[in-house]
Amino acid sequence: MALIELKNVIGGYGGAPILNGVNMSIEQSDIGVIVGPNGAGKSTTLKAIFGLLKVTEGSIVFQGEEIQNALPDRLVPKGLSFVPQEKNVFTSMSVEENLEMGAFTRTDDFRPTIEWVYDMFPVLREKRRQPAGELSGGQRQMVAMGRALMSKPSLLLLDEPSAGLSPRYVLEIFEQIVKVNKAGVAILMVEQNARQALAFASRGFVLATGKNRFTGTGPELIADPEVAKSFLGG
């Protein structure tokens, strides 16, 4: 059974729907990448999964349970986590406090998880007492991912993790994402650097005007001449 399955999801912010029937399915071992032109509903899909906008039709099934329109404070304990594209750290709080906030819904001891995150992003251990607002863009992205991992999610949603980073850091972040996935967390991410991201994606989705246009593994999509021509810039 798939970890999460979106069936014909339609939804928006109250006006005309932005999602016009999105279908997706992710397994526990997958890295899913959503690509597509601006306004295709990529980020909106993630927000729909995370209950941040209204789903009017269709269903989102996570671990066998329908979760459409459930709010984040219910979804986080179920094993979903979301890293927004912008403003994704608490700038006035220390790195460690940021991580603690990620564990807000947990009632058990989360010290081991903090250590696990520090092992994954060693630079954060050095900066644990520093306010997150003082870190560099790449380090902030690690804090944001670390915060999201603190709830021990089975699915991590990432909204353009490489946005605004210099090319060197883009690769580094992608490496970190693969590392997180190897640790047993399924990933579903939206990415502008489509070619680079699809290269390591086990599931790729090309969205346009709020609908699936192409679906396949990452390499399959890169190899598809039509996808390459229309969505990957030739």
Binding site: F50, L52, L71, P72, D73, L75, V76, P77, F82, P84, K87, N88, V89, F90, T91, S92, M93, E97, E100, M101, G102, F104, T105, P131, G133, R147, S151
Partner: protein, 333 residues
């Protein structure tokens, strides 16, 4: 030396007392602004309401003959008054602010709603208590503490009242408790997180409704404390609120809205500024009058006493124009 003690009694003691009241009130205003993102104008009335609740409880205690030696009954009943005010504050939120929040109302609408709440509380207080003045020390005496200074030629004593000592103690306890709450507890950190970035707080799974409730609990209990302290220091009257809410906003803005430590500093700054502005500085100049190139006038205050409250407004306006984010921005974050 006598002149210095006079200065100490008037400016320092008065400033500390007033500053404590402003600081405790301003923390509430600043927390509500940080979490709920609007200027809560009804805070002064919440303080007055808390003071009147404490007053009623005191009357009840006296009627029942409950008293503790060396402690004014006003302080004895303070914890109960804080709890009751908190319950009312939560009710006000549920009745007036929560429905607007749910609709996604703008901060301005919330501000206007808080004016409505001001009017309602104000009207109810006046309905029940009239517009007269009440005192916590009708049947008890306000103890004056005099400390003689062991120096030759010094005749004045350092004077302050017992409520003033207790006020400072209460303020210190409240501030310390708040500090540990905000830096050590899970909910306190969640409050800071929500003030910092509400969307991310929601995404992290922080239950924003609980945080809002905690905010009202802290703000409501501190309002009751500040109001009762003010009533114990001066007197209790229904229009206490309006004279106090603006200096408190001044304190919160001077400290940077949303920043608790800034609010405390701002409160003391405004308190000292008010007492220093109306102090007759010629008292301090008189002993050295011979050395001065000009004649010392009989009264030399920065502003006449009638303008005491105006000092806070002037500071407020100057800070708003010069540094609207507060003068401690950068130091405290």
């Amino acid at each position: 030396m006598n002149e210095l003690i006079f200065f100490f009694n008037n400016v320092i003691v008065g400033g500390v007392a007033l500053g404590s009241i402003y600081a405790v009130g301003a923390i509430g205003v600043t927390l509500i602004f940080g979490i709920l993102r609007f200027a809560h104008f009804a805070h002064g009335d919440m303080m007055t309401m808390g003071a009147f609740i404490a007053f009623l409880l005191m009357l009840a205690c006296q009627a029942l003959g409950i008293s503790v030696p060396f402690l004014p009954t006003g302080f004895l009943v303070l914890p109960v008054a804080m709890v009751l005010t908190t319950i009312i504050a939560l009710g006000l939120d549920k009745g007036f602010y929560a429905p607007l929040r749910k609709r996604g109302a703008k901060p301005v609408t919330m501000l206007i709603a808080s004016i409505g709440v001001t009017l309602i509380i104000q009207g109810l207080i006046r309905l029940f208590f009239g517009s007269g003045t009440w005192s916590f020390f009708e049947s008890e005496t306000k103890q004056l503490i005099r400390i003689p200074v062991p120096l030759e030629g010094v005749t004045r004593t350092i004077n302050f009242t017992q409520p003033q000592v207790l006020m400072v103690v209460c303020t210190a306890v409240a501030v310390l408790a708040l500090h540990f709450f905000l830096t050590r507890s899970r909910l306190g950190k969640a409050m800071r997180a929500m003030a910092d970035n509400p969307d991310l707080a929601q995404v992290s799974g922080i239950n924003t409704k609980v945080v809002v409730r905690v905010t009202w609990i802290i703000a409501g209990s501190l309002a009751a404390m500040a109001g009762t302290m003010l009533a114990l220091d001066v007197q209790l009257k229904p229009d206490l609120a309006f004279n106090i809410v603006l200096p408190i906003f001044a304190a919160a803005i001077v400290g940077g809205l949303g920043q608790s430590y800034g609010a405390i500093a701002g409160g003391f700054l405004i308190g000292f500024a008010e007492t220093a502005a109306i102090f007759n500085w010629s008292v301090l100049l008189r002993p050295i009058a011979g050395a001065l190139p000009f004649e010392v006038p009989a009264t030399l205050a920065i502003v006449p006493t009638e303008y005491k409250l105006t000092v806070a407004f002037v500071i407020l306006v100057v800070v708003l124009l010069w540094r609207p984010t507060g003068i401690f921005k950068g130091a405290s974050s």
